[in-house]
Amino acid sequence: MTGAAAAARRWAPPPLIASAWLRRGLALGAAIYLALALGTLRVNWRRVWEGLDRGGAFVVGFARPDFVSRWVEISEGILEGLVMTVTATAVGILISVPIGLGAARNLAPLPVYLACRGIVAASRTLQEVIVAIFFVAMFGFGPLAGVLTLSFATVGFLAKLLAEDIEDTDPAPAEAVRATGASWLQLLNYGIQPQVMPRLIGLSLYRLDINFRESAVIGIVGAGGIGATLNTAFDRYEYATAAAILMTIIAIVMTAEYGSGLIRRRVQ
């Protein structure tokens, strides 16, 4: 019995950080930092207490959403949001495809690659709300600023993922197509496009979802759409209307989610 136990060899996965001292030191450091950071958050508990009332009114508003009294504003906002979303997604896809091709290292020469990667990086660094504020300042309040913002954001998202998908394609079929004497465009159409199309469609539908949600957010800074209506409702303390707007947004997002799921399954 004891002989067998002595013979049994023990094994544990090696720790991520080999030095025990360093491991414990880092854990301790993290704990101290967290405690200090929490200490600097000065919470005004009285203000929190007062705010609970408003939060309560908001929750009650959800129980009795008011679609009727502001229905015209709500429906106009929704419609404007949808138009913005669809336009921006379509424009975004049209711009993303050439930029995605240029940002794929296996297709583009180095200068083109760097330029396209630069555009992608710029689009991804700037958050939608910041871009929206910028476009609102340039073009004034309204849906044009919103469409430009969402198109710009779509390019960063789609072009990057498309480029990565292109870089992951199997090089063998593309080589075979090249060997037949195909031109560069024919190479794209026969060697690359069939490999990336299902994912491109899936990503575009996903981006449509995201753009609708974002259109509500950037509306708050004046870039048109349902967000503007929502903001007005909050400003007027019309929580029942705000609840109605939020519920409409949720319903639309869920419908879009379900629909895009169906389409994505068909194209795989």
Partner: protein
Amino acid sequence: MLSVERLVKRYPTGDAALRGVDLEVPAGQVMALIGPSGAGKSTLLRCVNRLVEPTAGRVRLEGEDLTALGAAALRRARRRMGMIFQEFALVERLSVMENVLSGRLGYVGFWRSWFRRFPPADVEEAFRLLDRVELAESCDKRADALSGGQRQRVGIARALLQNPRILLVDEPTASLDPKTSRQIMRLICELCRERGLAAIINMHDVALARLFVERVVGLRQGAIVYDGPPDGLTPEVLTTIYGAEDWSEARRRGGADEEEEEEPEVDEQRLAGLT
């Protein structure tokens, strides 16, 4: 017809993959290029149609210097060189017919190929080739629905639809089982004979090469170390090509294959070797 002169290829990452290769392939000749992996067989084929740019040297096809061609002229020259690949290199999400018709891409304009509106004569020829490789019924199947042997037959039809003068064949059977390997090799050699095509066939398998070709070229570390008939592959020669090893197996297999009846036995030996 194809002549390769002092061809050198140095990849940016390593040392020379080809060190001055001279090779002459007359019209209609089917030859095997053998050698250990890393010898430079694939590189040599790809330097011929310039999928890989040679570092130095010349490649001539029917007198035309391929290494000096600009992009458009190179595309036209590639139409005369059909390529067949080890992993078949089909576009999996395209149909069998689209894969075969892609052999005409060098001949048709972009919009025609985009809308899949190939000239009727091309479509007719594609059907004839699919008939020949016994895949006409599968023409609308997706390429990824086929077995390995069927995929390679699609690859062969694609290469032949180019109406090439020479086939560049890179280990056509390395991903196939022994029986299918032979069928594919036989098909390639028959088609070359029917159409008077020359072919360079890269191979791993010395015994299979002996069965099907009239000339064997041995490549080692980017240089040609043997060029002659399959019968000349003595143990000494094989040792020069591949390094020291016991060659009785490869020799015996080759010797046993002189009569057709003995083929099944060879298959069994190869299968035994695989287990």
